[in-house]
Amino acid sequence: MTVLEHERLPEVDERNVALQLKLEEMWESAPGLRGWLSTVDHKEIGIMYLVTAFAFLVAGGIQALIMRLQLAGPDQHLLTPEQYNELFSMHGNTMIFWYAFPVLSGFSNYFWPLLLGARDMAFPRLNAFSYWVFLASGIFLYCSFAVGAAPNDGWFNYPPYASREFNPGPNIDFYLLALIFFGISLTAGGINFVVTSLRTRCPGMSVNRFPVVIWGTLSANAAGLLAVPTVSVACFLLWMDRQFGTHFFNAQNGGQPLLWQHLFWMFAHPWVYMIVLPAMGIVSDALPVFCRRPLVGYAAVCLATVVTMMIGFGVWVHHMFAVGLPSLGMSFFAATSILISLPSGVQVFSWLATIWTGRPIYTAAFHYFAGFIVLLVIGGVSGFVTGSVPVDWQLTDTYWVVAHIHYVLIGINLFPVIGGLFYWFPKMTGRMLDERLGKWSFWVMFVGFNLGFFPMHITGLLGMPRRVYTYPAGVGWTVPNLITTIGAFILAVGILMFFVNVFVSLRRGRTAGPNPWDAPTLEWATRSPPPPYNFAVIPSVASRHPLWEERLQEAEGTSVVDRGLVLDHHHETLAVTALDGEPDVILKMPTESYLPLLVTLCISIFFAGLVSTLWWLAAVGAVLGIALCVAWLWPLPEVGQREVPADV
């Protein structure tokens, strides 16, 4: 082994075939199953994230449809109350945790290095690890169905019903441990995104040139590093209460059930912004492409993104207005809850102005983004009014809140995600999705969604509580519930049409070419699908729209995409200074590894031991996991983590 040099003057060259062939061989993953299990390619991991997240969307969707059948008419007995409890709990957990955030991580994993002009994320193996843990924790959660004891206390799992006394089975233990398990994935992914955005970019990619989706995902993941520990701590404490008789939440022994609510919502309110801000970023980047102009108010939108996330940490008590807190505290949190609509408003007006002053092209993606704006406004208003304490007292725990949460989560997450897939599918696969079927699926989804969820506002105002497994006839809830059920099925048909579109277009879609939308950002400067090394030469950028510079004439210099740093000594990418994007260091990236998967398996054994209270099994998982972590972190000479002794 040759000693790795400490520094060098990197070469600059034109993009050329010889270089591309050399890099191809260097960066390509192994073929087949072996390659899939050991890959560290951010694009493959991104697709794995997307596919897995959509699988969870389908699972959660089927649970929702079963519940809607149960609620289609009064006094039905398709489901028992316990089955209903388990379904609504699993539906909420699946959608909010295992679909909504990972789907955005999938986009970000795939596109961050491409948007930033890098060859990979900062921590490729950690990237694979965060995916495997996401998958394993989801499987762990669904094992609860296999043993007939799924979580049954909703996605926010309030004690005392969640305590051992009232819920003696393993149902709640699955919830608590699955969330802690999933938190490992979120933390690993969060660190990776934050460090990537600060480090692995191309020269000239200063923070004021970040695409908005970078700002959205960065805000979300930085917030996750601070917020996820709350729910992990809360889950751990409740698990201790259940397993070892501690007294954190059981009131009869001096515990504080309200502490759970505080800890949970201190996490969960930032979380709901975490699962919408990256999606809003997708719209801020992709919508202007279909309006043929740059986004109106880039700086205001980025600031609004960051500010929304920050205020998002200061509104959690609005989930607890009905529990009897001091009115001074409630007034404060009512004020912040109303305040947070201001930065969201900034973004809405920015998108409207972009459409208004642009020349819109009514593609399927544009339809999804425009629909998203409508749903965001409706969901925003229904949330804004419940920020007021007396209104909240009237509406809390009714279907009004269910309507609100679905308008914001489906409206601000699912619609931009599908719009984003129409936009980026050509880049990921080299083929276009079918536009005509796309517009049809949009209208079916949009009509189904509004037919399904708008009447929930009415059922809520009529006083129907959420989370009841059935309701009597003659109280005025029958008609809106039936309409909701019909709408839910229409929405499902729309989503199914989208899936059909994906499967058909994968084989028969029109060939895309590198830049089918004539879009301005770096991911469109490479071929579709991108080669494993992303960019043959590291580009350098001089503006926010490197591919539109000639038309916009906004750059101080000129972006160059076909000439730049070669970096062809093994897996290399550039790290830049955090703010200005000046070249700082040449990073040596690790290659394929089974370690992320193996460590995930050890953690799975550990959690399996905990949930089955086989402590020896948990110990085996922990010891093996620690040993493998040491192996993982063993300093490698080829990535420059250690010297090679002179006598070798």
Binding site: G255, D584, V585, L587, E643
Partner: protein, 200 residues
């Protein structure tokens, strides 16, 4: 023929000091771990400020017999760690090995004192909310202490194998940073669990 990069001095390659990805990673890991403790302390202060029957803590302010020596040891451990890291940055292996070995011994001594403190307690984990908090928060710190011990042992072994030099020693820097964090958390814990009951 290709040319070289025009507008910079040569760029460093690979994992170097504060420019290594590992260091950036541990900074944000520590940020997240620190929030775990922030929320645990929040839970402690929440309990101590909500109405509770009898005094807080129920058994009176905790005994400082073990906690004060622990604080001294933990600070000494950070000092020896700093010495080790500075040593290798100057290319000196003796301070690196001695400093890491001393830190390891001090860390194990800390662990022993912590366990002694726990066995001295008249209450157990399930006695009341205070005891639950006391052992859980201490346990979280102990778990971080344990992870630190594993890291220090690994870095000591790698140092003995001659892996590190004045340029390439990022694992030492990363471990040192993590160890300072464990120290700072202990000080916060010491203030919360051991000092505030005397201030009430």
């Amino acid at each position: 023929m290709s040319e070289t990069f025009p507008y910079r001095p040569p760029l460093p390659i690979g994992s170097i000091g504060l420019r290594s990805s590992g260091f950036w990673g541990v900074v944000f890991l520590v940020l997240s771990e620190a929030s775990i403790f922030a929320y645990l302390f929040f839970a402690y202060y929440y309990f101590s400020t909500q109405p509770h029957p009898g005094p807080w803590p129920p058994s009176g302010p905790p005994d400082l017999t073990w906690a004060i020596p622990q604080s001294v040891i933990v600070l000494l451990g950070s000092a020896t760690m700093w010495w080790a890291n500075r040593g290798i940055a100057r290319g000196a292996r003796a301070p690196l090995l001695l400093g890491l070995a001393a830190t390891l011994v001090l860390a194990i001594a800390f662990l022993a004192l912590q366990l002694a403190d726990w066995f001295d307690k008249p209450f157990s984990l399930a006695t009341d909310p205070y005891s639950s908090l006391y052992f859980t928060i201490g346990g979280f710190h102990l778990a971080h202490e344990f992870v630190g011990i594993v890291m220090i042992a690994a870095v000591l072994a790698w140092s003995a194998l001659g892996y590190f030099g004045p340029v390439r020693h990022a694992p030492v820097t990363v471990t040192a940073f993590y160890w300072y964090f464990v120290t700072v958390i202990w000080l916060a814990l010491f203030f919360t669990l051991y000092i505030t009951p005397y201030l009430a």
